[in-house]
Subunit: 285 residues, 2 copies
Amino acid sequence: MLIGAIEAGGTKIICAVGDGSGEIRAKQSIPTREPEETLQEVKAFFSAYDLDALGVGSFGPVDLNRDSGTYGTILNTPKAAWKHFNLLGRLQADYEIPVYIDTDVNAACLAEYHHGAGIDVNSCLYITVGTGIGAGLVQNGQTFQGKSHPEMGHIMVPKHGTDPFTGVCPYHGNCLEGMASGPAIEERHGRKGHLLDDHPYVWELEAHYLAHAIVTYTLVLFPERIILGGGVMKQKLLLSLIREKVSRLLNGYVDVGEMDKFITAPALDDEQGVKGAIALAAGNV
Amino acid sequence: MLIGAIEAGGTKIICAVGDGSGEIRAKQSIPTREPEETLQEVKAFFSAYDLDALGVGSFGPVDLNRDSGTYGTILNTPKAAWKHFNLLGRLQADYEIPVYIDTDVNAACLAEYHHGAGIDVNSCLYITVGTGIGAGLVQNGQTFQGKSHPEMGHIMVPKHGTDPFTGVCPYHGNCLEGMASGPAIEERHGRKGHLLDDHPYVWELEAHYLAHAIVTYTLVLFPERIILGGGVMKQKLLLSLIREKVSRLLNGYVDVGEMDKFITAPALDDEQGVKGAIALAAGNV
């Protein structure tokens, strides 16, 4: 079985081919321009392969409600040319093979579940903390969604007592993404996060907001494992600061087991998105 | 098919018999005393029926992790005689028929999904606001759980600007249950909620906390419908106050459809728990 994968991001689209075992046979990165031009380049890459199915992990929001007339369409994105673009429909027309679509963060979660840090559990939540904050849940091999995909990065979190910042989310101001995304760190402190390693207060605030969100996700979803990825999580001390705060906030109320196993770093680095897109298609074919 | 139902609450246990159509053939309420005495009365009631299966909606927390050695056991409850009582094991031994167990609020959600206010949707969240606050999600006929059942009533919610109250939750102080349960209303205002109908500020605060929680549940779970039950919700204006605040807080960020259909009152009144327990067993037999 040969499966094509598309990880569609705001700045680049990564295409790959694999067989579902978790290994990637070929890969190419294409800059995200207008849909027509970009998808022609994507097609050129895949033309060398006789694919059985295609999996897509897309930036969002994307309509994942199967009962909707616009299932598989990109919704209200700041990237004007992609707004209301029927990505799934276009790929189905281009390739004439089964095409499966999910969000980028759900794809990342599927990859960690099948091949990475979630390989030994039945449910795991993957949270990415970068330009935005998003999260995806996989349970028993399936990505979770209700009417459509969750928007977990936009929940409200209690303000840190010494933080005067009002947040950068254009929709909600001081929601989690507004207070703790990469752009929030840069706006609040005047420099990007990776230049602020020696400023403990920066990471105290960051851990505060992420720990509160993790406690909420735990009380609502009770995953067996939480995997924290994305650029902001590359700060070395952040993971252990978050674990400490989550322990204190949960206060033994629910039994999450050992904290070091409950909250972990990802095991897959760069190829998470395409490996997840392959897993999505492989699990449905 | 004849199914027995047990709705196990802190003060009473309701037993019923039905055939899975949603109709109840017989019902009896038994005061909740010590497990031995109580379950003998339960057995006396069911002895007149030749049951095919038994469904149980239980007060919690109850261990619902099927991989756990204590699956079906009541966990850390203030009711000392029931703490660590293996309810599922005992019922399996007593009845020698398949026994299915879930939380009381999950059972209520199943009942509304199959026979009540959730009959026309694929996913619904039922929230009970009473002595405690709890919530259960049903998707495609199944109750949602991760490692075990959620504890959604204990999420943190942003404090109302003019509220000096510090909350009544013994674990978290000012979590949702600590700020908005029946006992929280009584402790804050010195009287029970049903005696405070003419005090708009009471319901302004109540709607504030519940609306914030509903927005969080919506962003994490994205249910098609949210059903608000429990004693506190009997206040007439509360439902519309909550709808207004949820609209304002969501700010069009996710498409929940018409607010009056998104957030509703329950359709089943007193028999929710037993009807849900029957649906639980009927869906598994």
